[in-house]
């Protein structure tokens, strides 16, 4: 079947802002949106630029706005979206070219919450042990692949780019609730800032955008409560 695609393109060398380009490709209903992009790039228009790496929903490189919603192009099948298909770069981050955005502001926010284990004590003979119950507390938030689908779906992030964003808070949650970690106080101190967790307005866009099914808004609410009770 023929699929019509409408892609928001931007070439920094010739464009002042983005413009739409239209393509028609033949595709099977079981094929992924990423396959359509490959067909365009490989056989129709080699100038189309987009990121992808593993192509199986693990690396988080190909987050884009597909028919108005943030998704991973490698996870969505042609039959799951309506034809014609509209594809745009994720919102709120500067576009470098076509569907490629500058991820630096996103990773700067991520680094702010110190996304690594903080524990000054010796681990002992072997590794630091954790009970299955304690592991369950961070089960949901360890699933994050840093694709930025949540942060760039957040209406607060669109207008106020100083907001740290849901992805950074989810990753802070992963360490705040980790029984082996001792840096919670420092992370909560960062997240109670005017641009931290309390900037969240519970729009739930992040939760519906997450390709890993993480309950992002719930994680942010957990962090707010933790700040209230253990500050």
């Amino acid at each position: 079947m023929d699929i019509d695609l409408k892609i928001l393109r931007y070439d920094p060398e010739s464009d002042r802002k983005g413009h739409w380009e239209y393509y028609t490709v033949e595709a099977d209903p079981e094929e992924r949106i990423l396959d359509l992009l490959h067909k365009i790039k490989w056989f129709e228009d080699g100038t189309l630029s987009f990121r992808r790496s593993c192509a199986h929903g693990v690396c988080g490189s190909d987050a884009m706005v597909i028919n108005g919603e943030n998704m991973l192009a490698c996870q969505v099948l042609v039959k799951e979206v309506s034809n014609p298909i509209t594809i745009e770069p994720i919102r709120g981050l500067p576009v470098v070219k076509d569907l490629i955005v500058d991820m630096d502001p996103f990773f700067d926010s991520y680094k702010k919450i110190m996304p690594y284990l903080i524990n000054e004590n010796e681990p002992g003979e072997r590794e630091r042990l954790q009970s299955p119950e304690d592991r369950d507390k961070i089960e949901d938030t360890t699933k994050c692949i840093l694709c930025a689908a949540c942060t760039t779906s957040c209406p607060v992030f669109w207008t106020a780019d100083s907001y740290i964003g849901p992805a950074a808070i989810v990753n802070a949650h992963r360490f705040i609730y980790d029984s082996r970690d001792e840096g919670s106080k420092q992370r909560l101190e960062i997240l109670k800032d005017v641009n931290g967790a309390f900037r969240c307005r519970t729009a739930f866009n992040c939760t519906s955008a997450c390709p890993r099914g993480i309950q992002v808004t719930k994680a942010i609410e957990d962090v707010k409560r933790e700040t209230l009770l253990n500050n």
């Binding site: 005017v194 707010k224 209230l228």
Partner: protein, 130 residues
């Protein structure tokens, strides 16, 4: 010999302000109280009494007891603070230009303060003429 590495060690950040935390918590508590106060107010004015029959005597009789003055003052104060904080947050989210934001926030705080002073003055200084 210690095997400890220095990876991930970092100076803790300066003690931040708790303003946003308390603001967030205040919105929840004041929201709950406002549901009770506003629903109570609506029942008194529109269900138990008819708004067409409300006159000076009705208000004067009500404000003869300090309890109704406290009720009305709480309704005034909490709704003003709740609304002002809500608008503060909206302005913070949508105005990125610092000068414009400061101007808008000053206008907001100024207006709220005037309403608060006027309302409080009426509730405290009211003397029944009947």
């Amino acid at each position: 010999m210690s095997t400890r590495t220095d990876w991930g060690r970092r100076e803790p950040p300066l003690k931040g302000s708790n303003f946003e935390l308390y603001g967030w918590f205040f919105m929840r508590i004041s929201g709950l109280l406002l549901v009770l106060l506003a629903v109570g107010h609506m029942f008194i004015m529109h269900v138990f009494n008819d708004t067409l029959n409300l006159d000076y005597e009705f208000v004067a009789a009500r404000w003869d007891t300090p309890y109704w003055r406290i009720f009305d003052w709480l309704l005034l104060t909490l709704s003003l603070l709740h609304g002002t904080n809500g608008l503060r947050v909206v302005l913070h989210d949508n105005l990125n230009d610092l000068t414009i934001r400061k101007l808008a926030l000053s206008a907001l705080y100024g207006t709220s303060l005037i309403f608060f002073i006027l309302g409080t003055y009426v509730i405290i200084a009211f003397v029944s003429q009947s």
